[in-house]
Protein backbone atom coordinates (compact mmCIF):
# COMPACT_ATOMS: atom_id res chain seq x y z
CA UNK A 1 0.00 0.00 0.00
CA UNK A 2 0.98 3.63 -0.43
CA UNK A 3 -0.57 7.05 -0.06
CA UNK A 4 0.16 10.45 -1.54
CA UNK A 5 0.97 12.50 1.56
CA UNK A 6 1.13 16.28 1.11
CA UNK A 7 2.38 15.79 -2.43
CA UNK A 8 4.87 12.95 -1.95
CA UNK A 9 4.28 9.22 -2.23
CA UNK A 10 4.93 7.11 0.86
CA UNK A 11 4.71 3.33 1.32
CA UNK A 12 2.65 1.96 4.18
CA UNK A 13 3.85 -1.02 6.24
CA UNK A 14 1.08 -1.09 8.87
CA UNK A 15 -1.61 -3.81 8.60
CA UNK A 16 -4.52 -2.86 6.29
CA UNK A 17 -7.10 -2.31 9.06
CA UNK A 18 -4.82 0.07 10.98
CA UNK A 19 -6.55 3.42 11.27
CA UNK A 20 -5.16 6.14 9.04
CA UNK A 21 -4.67 8.14 12.26
CA UNK A 22 -2.34 5.51 13.70
CA UNK A 23 -0.49 5.21 10.39
CA UNK A 24 0.04 8.97 10.19
CA UNK A 25 1.03 9.41 13.83
CA UNK A 26 2.87 6.20 14.70
CA UNK A 27 4.27 4.94 11.38
CA UNK A 28 4.86 8.22 9.51
CA UNK A 29 5.39 10.53 12.54
CA UNK A 30 2.95 13.11 11.20
CA UNK A 31 1.49 14.26 14.54
CA UNK A 32 -0.72 17.20 13.55
CA UNK A 33 -3.83 14.97 13.40
CA UNK A 34 -4.60 14.46 17.09
CA UNK A 35 -5.90 11.35 18.86
CA UNK A 36 -8.73 13.00 20.76
CA UNK A 37 -11.14 10.08 21.10
CA UNK A 38 -10.64 7.23 18.60
CA UNK A 39 -14.46 7.26 18.50
CA UNK A 40 -15.06 9.59 15.55
CA UNK A 41 -16.61 12.08 17.93
CA UNK A 42 -14.24 14.99 18.49
CA UNK A 43 -12.97 15.74 14.99
CA UNK A 44 -9.38 16.38 16.09
CA UNK A 45 -7.95 13.71 13.76
CA UNK A 46 -9.49 15.11 10.56
CA UNK A 47 -7.39 15.39 7.40
CA UNK A 48 -8.26 15.88 3.73
CA UNK A 49 -8.67 12.68 1.72
CA UNK A 50 -8.74 13.58 -1.97
CA UNK A 51 -9.77 17.05 -0.86
CA UNK A 52 -12.59 16.05 1.49
CA UNK A 53 -12.32 16.21 5.29
CA UNK A 54 -12.39 12.73 6.81
CA UNK A 55 -12.00 11.23 10.29
CA UNK A 56 -8.74 9.33 10.19
CA UNK A 57 -9.57 7.36 13.35
CA UNK A 58 -12.52 5.79 11.49
CA UNK A 59 -10.63 5.15 8.27
CA UNK A 60 -8.78 1.86 7.73
CA UNK A 61 -5.61 2.72 5.86
CA UNK A 62 -6.40 0.15 3.15
CA UNK A 63 -9.48 2.20 2.26
CA UNK A 64 -7.27 5.14 1.25
CA UNK A 65 -4.63 3.11 -0.62
CA UNK A 66 -3.41 5.41 -3.40
CA UNK A 67 -5.40 8.41 -2.15
CA UNK A 68 -4.16 11.99 -1.80
CA UNK A 69 -3.87 12.78 1.93
CA UNK A 70 -3.43 16.38 3.01
CA UNK A 71 -2.58 17.24 6.62
CA UNK A 72 -2.06 20.79 7.84
CA UNK A 73 1.62 20.40 6.96
CA UNK A 74 0.41 20.35 3.37
CA UNK A 75 -1.44 23.67 3.72
CA UNK A 76 1.07 26.17 5.05
CA UNK A 77 4.12 26.32 7.28
CA UNK A 78 5.32 29.02 9.67
CA UNK A 79 7.02 30.92 6.84
CA UNK A 80 4.00 30.68 4.61
CA UNK A 81 0.68 30.70 6.49
CA UNK A 82 -2.53 30.28 4.51
CA UNK A 83 -5.27 32.88 4.88
CA UNK A 84 -7.14 30.58 7.25
CA UNK A 85 -4.06 29.96 9.39
CA UNK A 86 -3.33 33.70 9.53
CA UNK A 87 -6.94 34.40 10.42
CA UNK A 88 -6.88 31.86 13.28
CA UNK A 89 -3.67 33.41 14.62
CA UNK A 90 -4.96 36.95 14.16
CA UNK A 91 -8.33 36.36 15.84
CA UNK A 92 -7.01 34.36 18.79
CA UNK A 93 -8.97 31.34 17.52
CA UNK A 94 -6.46 28.91 19.03
CA UNK A 95 -6.11 28.52 22.78
CA UNK A 96 -4.67 25.16 23.83
CA UNK A 97 -4.23 24.41 20.14
CA UNK A 98 -5.11 20.73 20.27
CA UNK A 99 -8.22 21.01 18.05
CA UNK A 100 -6.68 23.71 15.87
CA UNK A 101 -5.07 21.70 13.03
CA UNK A 102 -8.24 19.74 12.27
CA UNK A 103 -10.37 22.85 12.77
CA UNK A 104 -8.27 24.61 10.15
CA UNK A 105 -8.45 21.58 7.83
CA UNK A 106 -12.27 21.56 8.07
CA UNK A 107 -12.50 25.33 7.71
CA UNK A 108 -10.23 25.26 4.67
CA UNK A 109 -12.39 22.62 2.97
CA UNK A 110 -15.51 24.61 3.87
CA UNK A 111 -14.10 27.76 2.27
CA UNK A 112 -12.72 25.89 -0.74
CA UNK A 113 -16.31 24.71 -1.25
CA UNK A 114 -17.39 28.35 -1.39
CA UNK A 115 -18.79 28.26 2.16
CA UNK A 116 -20.42 31.51 3.14
CA UNK A 117 -19.08 34.01 5.68
CA UNK A 118 -22.36 33.78 7.64
CA UNK A 119 -21.62 32.78 11.26
CA UNK A 120 -24.63 30.44 11.39
CA UNK A 121 -23.41 28.58 8.30
CA UNK A 122 -19.92 28.24 9.76
CA UNK A 123 -21.29 27.01 13.10
CA UNK A 124 -23.23 24.32 11.23
CA UNK A 125 -20.29 23.35 9.04
CA UNK A 126 -17.89 22.95 11.99
CA UNK A 127 -20.33 21.29 14.41
CA UNK A 128 -18.37 18.05 14.28
CA UNK A 129 -15.19 19.71 15.55
CA UNK A 130 -15.14 20.16 19.29
CA UNK A 131 -13.21 22.85 21.12
CA UNK A 132 -13.35 23.08 24.91
CA UNK A 133 -11.39 26.33 25.23
CA UNK A 134 -12.75 29.10 23.03
CA UNK A 135 -16.53 28.90 23.13
CA UNK A 136 -16.13 28.88 19.31
CA UNK A 137 -16.69 32.65 18.91
CA UNK A 138 -13.16 33.42 17.80
CA UNK A 139 -13.05 30.35 15.56
CA UNK A 140 -16.24 31.41 13.79
CA UNK A 141 -14.92 34.97 13.49
CA UNK A 142 -11.64 33.71 12.06
CA UNK A 143 -13.33 31.56 9.41
CA UNK A 144 -15.81 34.31 8.58
CA UNK A 145 -12.97 36.81 8.13
CA UNK A 146 -10.99 34.35 6.02
CA UNK A 147 -14.06 33.96 3.79
CA UNK A 148 -13.93 37.64 2.94
CA UNK A 149 -10.19 38.42 3.14
CA UNK A 150 -7.13 36.70 1.80
CA UNK A 151 -4.34 38.61 3.52
CA UNK A 152 -3.93 39.79 7.10
CA UNK A 153 -1.75 42.43 8.63
CA UNK A 154 -0.65 40.53 11.72
CA UNK A 155 0.23 43.71 13.58
CA UNK A 156 -3.30 45.12 13.42
CA UNK A 157 -5.30 43.67 16.27
CA UNK A 158 -9.08 43.80 16.28
CA UNK A 159 -11.56 43.33 19.07
CA UNK A 160 -13.80 40.35 19.33
CA UNK A 161 -17.28 41.23 18.07
CA UNK A 162 -19.46 42.73 20.80
CA UNK A 163 -16.69 43.53 23.27
CA UNK A 164 -16.60 46.87 25.06
CA UNK A 165 -13.80 47.89 27.42
CA UNK A 166 -14.85 50.37 30.09
CA UNK A 167 -12.52 52.45 32.27
CA UNK A 168 -12.30 51.43 35.90
CA UNK A 169 -13.80 53.18 38.88
CA UNK A 170 -17.45 53.88 39.50
CA UNK A 171 -19.41 53.53 36.29
Amino acid sequence: MNIRLNGGTVDIKSPPLTSLLTVLREELNVTSPKRGCDQGGCGACTVLVDGTPQRTCLTPVAAVDGAEITTIEGLGDSENLTAVQQSFLHHGAAQCGFCTPSMIIAATAYLDGDGSAEPEAIQEALKGHLCRCTGYQKIISAVSAAATKSEFDLTSMTASPNTVILPGGDT
Binding site: C96, G97, L130
Partner: protein, 455 residues
Protein backbone atom coordinates in the same frame (compact mmCIF):
# COMPACT_ATOMS: atom_id res chain seq x y z
CA UNK B 1 4.48 49.72 21.11
CA UNK B 2 3.24 48.98 24.61
CA UNK B 3 3.24 45.25 25.31
CA UNK B 4 0.70 45.31 28.13
CA UNK B 5 -2.83 45.88 26.89
CA UNK B 6 -1.98 44.89 23.32
CA UNK B 7 -3.75 42.13 21.40
CA UNK B 8 -0.54 40.21 20.83
CA UNK B 9 -0.89 36.96 18.88
CA UNK B 10 -0.29 33.96 21.13
CA UNK B 11 3.38 33.31 21.85
CA UNK B 12 2.75 29.71 20.71
CA UNK B 13 0.19 30.72 18.07
CA UNK B 14 2.20 29.92 14.94
CA UNK B 15 2.97 26.45 16.31
CA UNK B 16 -0.73 25.92 16.98
CA UNK B 17 -2.00 27.01 13.54
CA UNK B 18 0.66 24.98 11.72
CA UNK B 19 0.09 21.85 13.82
CA UNK B 20 3.73 21.87 14.94
CA UNK B 21 3.17 22.47 18.67
CA UNK B 22 4.42 19.34 20.41
CA UNK B 23 2.12 17.76 23.01
CA UNK B 24 3.15 14.79 25.13
CA UNK B 25 1.61 12.19 22.80
CA UNK B 26 3.60 13.72 19.93
CA UNK B 27 6.94 13.00 21.64
CA UNK B 28 8.84 10.09 20.05
CA UNK B 29 11.47 8.21 22.05
CA UNK B 30 13.33 5.17 20.69
CA UNK B 31 12.32 1.88 22.27
CA UNK B 32 9.15 3.26 23.82
CA UNK B 33 6.78 0.76 25.47
CA UNK B 34 2.98 1.09 25.66
CA UNK B 35 1.00 0.74 28.87
CA UNK B 36 -2.51 -0.41 29.79
CA UNK B 37 -4.14 -0.57 33.20
CA UNK B 38 -6.04 -3.27 35.01
CA UNK B 39 -9.01 -1.46 36.52
CA UNK B 40 -11.71 -2.43 38.96
CA UNK B 41 -14.76 -3.95 37.29
CA UNK B 42 -16.88 -3.36 40.40
CA UNK B 43 -17.91 -0.30 42.40
CA UNK B 44 -16.86 -1.47 45.86
CA UNK B 45 -15.11 -4.69 46.86
CA UNK B 46 -12.31 -6.36 48.77
CA UNK B 47 -9.53 -7.70 46.56
CA UNK B 48 -9.27 -11.31 47.70
CA UNK B 49 -6.73 -12.48 45.15
CA UNK B 50 -4.50 -11.09 42.42
CA UNK B 51 -2.09 -13.14 40.29
CA UNK B 52 -0.01 -11.42 37.62
CA UNK B 53 2.24 -14.39 36.79
CA UNK B 54 0.54 -15.28 33.49
CA UNK B 55 0.72 -11.66 32.37
CA UNK B 56 4.38 -11.34 33.35
CA UNK B 57 5.23 -14.50 31.40
CA UNK B 58 3.72 -13.24 28.15
CA UNK B 59 6.18 -12.44 25.35
CA UNK B 60 6.55 -8.70 24.84
CA UNK B 61 5.54 -7.85 28.41
CA UNK B 62 8.32 -5.82 30.05
CA UNK B 63 6.83 -4.76 33.38
CA UNK B 64 3.77 -5.38 35.51
CA UNK B 65 3.26 -2.91 38.36
CA UNK B 66 1.02 -3.44 41.36
CA UNK B 67 0.68 -1.78 44.76
CA UNK B 68 3.61 -3.76 46.14
CA UNK B 69 5.94 -1.99 43.70
CA UNK B 70 5.14 1.47 45.11
CA UNK B 71 7.63 2.73 47.75
CA UNK B 72 5.09 5.10 49.34
CA UNK B 73 1.66 3.80 48.37
CA UNK B 74 -0.41 6.59 49.90
CA UNK B 75 0.58 10.24 49.62
CA UNK B 76 -1.74 13.11 50.41
CA UNK B 77 -1.65 15.63 47.60
CA UNK B 78 -2.54 18.34 50.07
CA UNK B 79 -0.56 17.11 53.06
CA UNK B 80 0.86 20.64 53.21
CA UNK B 81 -2.61 21.85 54.15
CA UNK B 82 -2.94 19.18 56.83
CA UNK B 83 -5.14 16.94 54.68
CA UNK B 84 -4.00 13.36 55.39
CA UNK B 85 -3.50 10.66 52.77
CA UNK B 86 -6.28 8.18 52.04
CA UNK B 87 -5.84 7.00 48.44
CA UNK B 88 -3.41 4.29 47.32
CA UNK B 89 -1.65 4.96 44.04
CA UNK B 90 -2.73 1.45 42.98
CA UNK B 91 -5.51 -0.40 44.77
CA UNK B 92 -4.16 -2.82 47.41
CA UNK B 93 -6.73 -4.36 49.75
CA UNK B 94 -9.91 -2.95 48.30
CA UNK B 95 -11.42 -1.02 45.43
CA UNK B 96 -13.89 1.80 46.05
CA UNK B 97 -14.96 2.88 42.58
CA UNK B 98 -15.50 1.35 39.16
CA UNK B 99 -12.32 1.70 37.12
CA UNK B 100 -9.94 2.25 40.04
CA UNK B 101 -6.43 1.32 38.82
CA UNK B 102 -5.04 -1.92 40.29
CA UNK B 103 -2.11 -2.76 38.01
CA UNK B 104 -0.25 -1.37 35.01
CA UNK B 105 1.32 -3.45 32.24
CA UNK B 106 4.08 -2.08 30.00
CA UNK B 107 4.65 -4.04 26.80
CA UNK B 108 6.11 -3.73 23.31
CA UNK B 109 2.74 -2.61 21.89
CA UNK B 110 -0.77 -1.73 23.04
CA UNK B 111 -2.29 -5.03 21.89
CA UNK B 112 0.21 -7.02 23.97
CA UNK B 113 -0.29 -4.71 26.95
CA UNK B 114 -4.06 -5.14 26.77
CA UNK B 115 -3.77 -8.90 26.33
CA UNK B 116 -1.54 -9.05 29.39
CA UNK B 117 -3.99 -6.96 31.41
CA UNK B 118 -6.70 -9.43 30.44
CA UNK B 119 -4.43 -12.27 31.63
CA UNK B 120 -4.13 -10.92 35.19
CA UNK B 121 -6.22 -13.03 37.51
CA UNK B 122 -8.13 -11.07 40.11
CA UNK B 123 -10.96 -11.88 42.50
CA UNK B 124 -13.25 -9.46 44.26
CA UNK B 125 -15.56 -9.87 47.21
CA UNK B 126 -18.19 -7.26 46.50
CA UNK B 127 -19.41 -4.85 49.15
CA UNK B 128 -22.52 -2.69 49.18
CA UNK B 129 -21.89 0.69 47.56
CA UNK B 130 -23.01 4.18 48.61
CA UNK B 131 -24.21 6.56 45.89
CA UNK B 132 -26.39 9.19 47.52
CA UNK B 133 -24.77 11.89 49.68
CA UNK B 134 -28.17 12.47 51.25
CA UNK B 135 -28.18 8.91 52.60
CA UNK B 136 -24.57 8.90 53.79
CA UNK B 137 -25.57 9.85 57.32
CA UNK B 138 -28.21 7.14 57.72
CA UNK B 139 -27.43 4.53 60.35
CA UNK B 140 -27.85 1.74 57.80
CA UNK B 141 -25.86 3.46 55.03
CA UNK B 142 -23.15 1.35 53.38
CA UNK B 143 -19.68 2.35 54.55
CA UNK B 144 -17.83 3.94 51.63
CA UNK B 145 -14.49 4.92 53.22
CA UNK B 146 -12.22 3.78 56.05
CA UNK B 147 -12.66 7.18 57.73
CA UNK B 148 -16.41 6.73 57.63
CA UNK B 149 -18.83 8.24 55.14
CA UNK B 150 -17.57 11.77 55.53
CA UNK B 151 -14.24 13.55 56.03
CA UNK B 152 -13.25 13.99 59.66
CA UNK B 153 -9.93 15.83 59.56
CA UNK B 154 -10.69 19.55 59.41
CA UNK B 155 -8.91 21.76 61.95
CA UNK B 156 -9.34 20.45 65.51
CA UNK B 157 -10.31 17.14 63.90
CA UNK B 158 -13.75 18.55 63.16
CA UNK B 159 -15.88 16.50 60.80
CA UNK B 160 -17.25 19.52 58.97
CA UNK B 161 -16.29 22.97 57.74
CA UNK B 162 -18.06 25.60 59.80
CA UNK B 163 -18.61 29.31 59.43
CA UNK B 164 -20.21 31.17 62.31
CA UNK B 165 -20.66 34.92 62.31
CA UNK B 166 -22.95 37.35 64.13
CA UNK B 167 -26.11 36.06 65.72
CA UNK B 168 -28.11 33.84 63.37
CA UNK B 169 -30.95 33.22 65.83
CA UNK B 170 -31.48 36.96 66.23
CA UNK B 171 -31.45 37.42 62.45
CA UNK B 172 -34.10 34.73 62.02
CA UNK B 173 -36.20 36.39 64.71
CA UNK B 174 -35.87 39.85 63.17
CA UNK B 175 -36.63 38.62 59.64
CA UNK B 176 -39.93 39.31 57.87
CA UNK B 177 -39.40 36.20 55.75
CA UNK B 178 -37.32 33.04 55.91
CA UNK B 179 -36.71 31.92 52.33
CA UNK B 180 -35.40 28.40 51.80
CA UNK B 181 -34.27 26.49 48.74
CA UNK B 182 -32.34 23.41 47.72
CA UNK B 183 -29.77 23.48 44.91
CA UNK B 184 -27.94 20.62 43.25
CA UNK B 185 -25.21 20.46 40.65
CA UNK B 186 -23.97 17.45 38.69
CA UNK B 187 -20.68 15.71 38.17
CA UNK B 188 -19.29 16.74 34.84
CA UNK B 189 -16.28 15.68 32.82
CA UNK B 190 -13.48 18.13 32.05
CA UNK B 191 -13.22 16.88 28.43
CA UNK B 192 -9.91 18.44 27.51
CA UNK B 193 -9.35 17.54 23.85
CA UNK B 194 -6.00 16.01 24.89
CA UNK B 195 -6.56 12.92 27.07
CA UNK B 196 -4.36 12.18 30.10
CA UNK B 197 -0.93 10.98 28.99
CA UNK B 198 2.62 10.70 30.24
CA UNK B 199 5.88 9.33 28.89
CA UNK B 200 8.71 8.40 31.25
CA UNK B 201 12.29 7.81 30.10
CA UNK B 202 14.97 6.38 32.41
CA UNK B 203 18.16 8.33 31.70
CA UNK B 204 21.71 6.89 31.70
CA UNK B 205 22.55 8.97 34.78
CA UNK B 206 19.78 7.29 36.71
CA UNK B 207 17.39 10.23 36.48
CA UNK B 208 13.85 10.05 35.14
CA UNK B 209 12.57 12.34 32.41
CA UNK B 210 8.79 12.59 32.72
CA UNK B 211 6.91 14.10 29.78
CA UNK B 212 3.67 15.20 31.36
CA UNK B 213 0.44 17.02 30.46
CA UNK B 214 0.21 18.29 34.03
CA UNK B 215 -1.17 21.77 34.74
CA UNK B 216 1.35 22.03 37.58
CA UNK B 217 4.89 20.84 36.82
CA UNK B 218 6.30 21.35 40.29
CA UNK B 219 3.22 19.94 41.98
CA UNK B 220 3.56 16.77 39.92
CA UNK B 221 7.31 16.74 40.60
CA UNK B 222 6.67 16.77 44.35
CA UNK B 223 3.98 14.08 44.14
CA UNK B 224 6.10 11.69 42.05
CA UNK B 225 9.19 12.23 44.22
CA UNK B 226 7.16 11.54 47.36
CA UNK B 227 5.66 8.27 46.06
CA UNK B 228 9.05 7.10 44.76
CA UNK B 229 10.85 8.35 47.88
CA UNK B 230 13.62 9.95 45.85
CA UNK B 231 14.94 13.54 45.85
CA UNK B 232 13.38 16.02 43.42
CA UNK B 233 16.63 16.33 41.46
CA UNK B 234 16.34 12.71 40.30
CA UNK B 235 13.31 13.75 38.23
CA UNK B 236 12.90 16.14 35.33
CA UNK B 237 9.32 16.97 34.47
CA UNK B 238 9.01 18.11 30.85
CA UNK B 239 5.77 19.82 29.95
CA UNK B 240 4.26 23.28 30.03
CA UNK B 241 2.31 22.76 26.80
CA UNK B 242 -1.06 21.22 27.60
CA UNK B 243 -4.00 20.35 25.34
CA UNK B 244 -6.59 21.71 27.75
CA UNK B 245 -6.87 21.01 31.44
CA UNK B 246 -9.73 22.83 33.22
CA UNK B 247 -8.54 21.39 36.56
CA UNK B 248 -8.48 17.72 35.66
CA UNK B 249 -4.76 17.74 34.99
CA UNK B 250 -3.92 19.02 38.47
CA UNK B 251 -4.33 15.39 39.50
CA UNK B 252 -1.05 13.55 38.98
CA UNK B 253 -3.02 10.79 37.30
CA UNK B 254 -0.48 8.86 35.24
CA UNK B 255 3.06 10.13 35.93
CA UNK B 256 3.97 8.12 39.03
CA UNK B 257 2.63 4.77 37.89
CA UNK B 258 4.24 5.18 34.47
CA UNK B 259 7.54 6.06 36.16
CA UNK B 260 7.42 2.83 38.19
CA UNK B 261 6.84 0.83 35.01
CA UNK B 262 9.70 2.61 33.21
CA UNK B 263 12.06 1.94 36.11
CA UNK B 264 11.10 -1.72 36.31
CA UNK B 265 11.39 -2.26 32.54
CA UNK B 266 14.36 0.11 32.26
CA UNK B 267 12.71 1.30 29.04
CA UNK B 268 10.74 4.42 28.09
CA UNK B 269 7.02 3.87 28.78
CA UNK B 270 4.04 5.86 27.54
CA UNK B 271 0.65 5.59 29.23
CA UNK B 272 -2.09 7.31 27.22
CA UNK B 273 -5.68 7.16 28.44
CA UNK B 274 -8.46 6.47 25.96
CA UNK B 275 -11.38 8.87 25.69
CA UNK B 276 -13.48 6.17 27.29
CA UNK B 277 -11.14 6.16 30.30
CA UNK B 278 -11.46 9.94 30.40
CA UNK B 279 -15.25 9.66 30.62
CA UNK B 280 -15.56 6.65 32.93
CA UNK B 281 -12.46 6.81 35.14
CA UNK B 282 -10.92 10.27 35.20
CA UNK B 283 -11.96 12.49 38.07
CA UNK B 284 -14.97 14.75 37.58
CA UNK B 285 -16.30 18.04 38.83
CA UNK B 286 -18.07 17.21 42.09
CA UNK B 287 -21.83 17.02 42.47
CA UNK B 288 -22.94 19.39 45.23
CA UNK B 289 -26.08 19.41 47.38
CA UNK B 290 -26.76 22.83 48.89
CA UNK B 291 -29.53 23.97 51.21
CA UNK B 292 -30.01 27.65 51.96
CA UNK B 293 -32.40 29.41 54.30
CA UNK B 294 -32.12 33.20 54.34
CA UNK B 295 -33.53 35.65 56.87
CA UNK B 296 -34.78 38.60 54.79
CA UNK B 297 -36.71 41.80 55.33
CA UNK B 298 -39.63 42.81 53.14
CA UNK B 299 -37.55 45.62 51.64
CA UNK B 300 -34.86 43.16 50.53
CA UNK B 301 -32.10 43.19 53.13
CA UNK B 302 -30.54 39.82 53.83
CA UNK B 303 -30.04 39.67 57.59
CA UNK B 304 -28.71 36.17 57.90
CA UNK B 305 -28.05 32.86 56.15
CA UNK B 306 -28.09 29.29 57.35
CA UNK B 307 -26.55 26.90 54.88
CA UNK B 308 -25.80 23.23 54.65
CA UNK B 309 -23.59 21.80 51.92
CA UNK B 310 -22.88 18.18 51.06
CA UNK B 311 -19.99 17.81 48.65
CA UNK B 312 -19.81 14.47 46.80
CA UNK B 313 -16.11 13.69 46.99
CA UNK B 314 -16.44 10.27 45.42
CA UNK B 315 -14.30 7.45 46.75
CA UNK B 316 -11.34 9.46 48.09
CA UNK B 317 -10.60 12.94 49.44
CA UNK B 318 -8.17 14.27 46.80
CA UNK B 319 -8.73 18.07 46.79
CA UNK B 320 -12.28 18.00 48.14
CA UNK B 321 -11.61 19.35 51.66
CA UNK B 322 -9.81 22.30 50.03
CA UNK B 323 -12.73 22.80 47.63
CA UNK B 324 -15.31 22.75 50.41
CA UNK B 325 -13.30 25.24 52.47
CA UNK B 326 -13.13 27.60 49.46
CA UNK B 327 -16.88 27.06 49.00
CA UNK B 328 -17.53 28.03 52.62
CA UNK B 329 -15.42 31.21 52.35
CA UNK B 330 -17.60 32.36 49.44
CA UNK B 331 -21.03 31.16 50.51
CA UNK B 332 -22.38 34.71 50.71
CA UNK B 333 -21.49 35.35 47.07
CA UNK B 334 -20.91 39.00 46.18
CA UNK B 335 -23.13 40.16 49.02
CA UNK B 336 -22.68 41.23 52.62
CA UNK B 337 -24.60 39.13 55.12
CA UNK B 338 -23.73 39.84 58.76
CA UNK B 339 -25.15 36.73 60.42
CA UNK B 340 -24.01 33.34 59.17
CA UNK B 341 -24.33 29.70 60.10
CA UNK B 342 -22.67 27.41 57.54
CA UNK B 343 -21.99 23.70 57.83
CA UNK B 344 -20.33 21.76 55.03
CA UNK B 345 -19.45 18.09 54.73
CA UNK B 346 -17.12 16.27 52.37
CA UNK B 347 -19.08 13.07 51.77
CA UNK B 348 -17.49 9.89 50.43
CA UNK B 349 -19.42 7.82 47.91
CA UNK B 350 -18.42 4.91 45.69
CA UNK B 351 -18.17 6.94 42.53
CA UNK B 352 -15.16 8.29 40.64
CA UNK B 353 -13.29 10.69 42.92
CA UNK B 354 -14.13 14.27 42.12
CA UNK B 355 -11.41 16.89 41.81
CA UNK B 356 -10.68 20.46 40.92
CA UNK B 357 -12.48 21.97 37.98
CA UNK B 358 -12.69 25.55 36.75
CA UNK B 359 -14.25 27.57 39.57
CA UNK B 360 -13.51 24.83 42.11
CA UNK B 361 -15.83 25.07 45.10
CA UNK B 362 -17.37 28.34 43.98
CA UNK B 363 -19.14 27.42 40.72
CA UNK B 364 -21.67 25.52 42.83
CA UNK B 365 -22.16 28.33 45.35
CA UNK B 366 -22.52 30.94 42.60
CA UNK B 367 -25.36 28.92 41.06
CA UNK B 368 -27.09 28.38 44.42
CA UNK B 369 -26.69 31.94 45.73
CA UNK B 370 -27.62 33.68 42.47
CA UNK B 371 -30.70 31.54 41.89
CA UNK B 372 -31.68 32.03 45.53
CA UNK B 373 -31.23 35.83 45.27
CA UNK B 374 -33.54 35.88 42.27
CA UNK B 375 -36.09 33.76 44.12
CA UNK B 376 -36.00 36.18 47.05
CA UNK B 377 -36.44 39.13 44.67
CA UNK B 378 -39.32 37.27 43.01
CA UNK B 379 -41.14 36.43 46.26
CA UNK B 380 -40.66 39.96 47.66
CA UNK B 381 -41.53 41.66 44.38
CA UNK B 382 -38.18 43.49 44.28
CA UNK B 383 -36.11 44.22 41.17
CA UNK B 384 -33.27 41.67 40.92
CA UNK B 385 -30.78 44.45 40.12
CA UNK B 386 -31.85 46.50 43.13
CA UNK B 387 -31.76 43.67 45.69
CA UNK B 388 -28.21 43.00 44.49
CA UNK B 389 -27.13 46.64 44.68
CA UNK B 390 -28.56 46.84 48.18
CA UNK B 391 -26.69 43.85 49.56
CA UNK B 392 -23.60 44.15 47.32
CA UNK B 393 -20.18 44.02 48.98
CA UNK B 394 -18.89 47.53 49.72
CA UNK B 395 -15.49 48.77 50.85
CA UNK B 396 -15.03 47.89 54.55
CA UNK B 397 -17.77 45.27 54.55
CA UNK B 398 -16.44 42.01 55.93
CA UNK B 399 -16.35 38.56 54.38
CA UNK B 400 -17.69 35.33 55.96
CA UNK B 401 -14.29 34.89 57.61
CA UNK B 402 -14.13 38.51 58.74
CA UNK B 403 -11.80 39.93 56.09
CA UNK B 404 -12.50 43.51 55.08
CA UNK B 405 -13.21 43.99 51.37
CA UNK B 406 -10.80 46.61 50.07
CA UNK B 407 -12.08 47.21 46.55
CA UNK B 408 -15.20 45.24 45.64
CA UNK B 409 -16.72 46.19 42.28
CA UNK B 410 -20.03 44.36 42.50
CA UNK B 411 -21.85 47.68 42.26
CA UNK B 412 -19.84 48.62 39.16
CA UNK B 413 -20.46 45.38 37.28
CA UNK B 414 -24.19 45.49 38.09
CA UNK B 415 -24.38 49.09 36.87
CA UNK B 416 -22.59 48.12 33.66
CA UNK B 417 -25.01 45.23 33.24
CA UNK B 418 -28.08 47.44 33.76
CA UNK B 419 -26.69 49.77 31.09
CA UNK B 420 -26.15 46.84 28.72
CA UNK B 421 -29.65 45.45 29.28
CA UNK B 422 -31.29 48.89 29.29
CA UNK B 423 -32.76 48.44 32.75
CA UNK B 424 -33.69 51.72 34.45
CA UNK B 425 -32.56 51.83 38.09
CA UNK B 426 -34.19 53.95 40.79
CA UNK B 427 -31.96 56.95 41.65
CA UNK B 428 -30.93 55.48 45.03
CA UNK B 429 -29.53 52.44 43.21
CA UNK B 430 -28.24 54.19 40.11
CA UNK B 431 -26.22 56.38 42.47
CA UNK B 432 -24.82 53.51 44.54
CA UNK B 433 -21.04 53.15 44.65
CA UNK B 434 -18.51 50.69 46.05
CA UNK B 435 -17.50 53.24 48.70
CA UNK B 436 -18.14 52.51 52.41
CA UNK B 437 -21.80 52.28 53.35
CA UNK B 438 -23.68 55.33 54.51
CA UNK B 439 -27.21 56.67 54.67
CA UNK B 440 -29.93 54.31 53.42
CA UNK B 441 -27.27 51.79 52.40
CA UNK B 442 -26.10 51.50 56.02
CA UNK B 443 -29.01 49.91 57.88
CA UNK B 444 -28.77 49.16 61.61
CA UNK B 445 -28.09 45.46 61.11
CA UNK B 446 -24.89 46.33 59.22
CA UNK B 447 -23.65 49.01 61.62
CA UNK B 448 -22.69 46.42 64.23
CA UNK B 449 -21.16 44.20 61.53
CA UNK B 450 -18.91 47.05 60.44
CA UNK B 451 -17.76 47.40 64.02
CA UNK B 452 -16.78 43.75 64.26
CA UNK B 453 -13.09 43.15 64.02
CA UNK B 454 -11.83 42.68 60.50
CA UNK B 455 -8.40 42.29 58.93
Amino acid sequence: MKAVGARMPRYDGVGHVTGQTQYVDDVRVHGMLSAKALRSTVHHAAITNIDTSKAEAMPGVKAVITSKDVPLLEYGHLSGLGIPADEPLLAKDDVRYLGQPIALVAAEDEDTAQAAVNAIEIEFEERPALWDVRKAFDADAPRSHHWGNWYTHFEDEMDRRQIRKGNIEQAFEDADRLVSGVYRTSAIEHVPLEPQVSLVTPEPDGRLTIYSCTQALYFSLAVVAAHLEIPMNRIKIVGGTVGGGFGGKVDTATETITALAAMKANRPVKWRWTREEEFLVSSTRAPWHMEIIDAVTNDGWILGRKMLTLHDSGAYARFSPYGLTKHSFHHTGAYTIPNLHFDGYVVFTNRTPSTAMRGFGVTSISFAVETHMNRIADILGIDPYEIRLKNANRINDTSPNRIRYTDPSTVDVIHAMSNATGVELAPAYAGATRQPREGDMLPDHLVSQLKTEGH
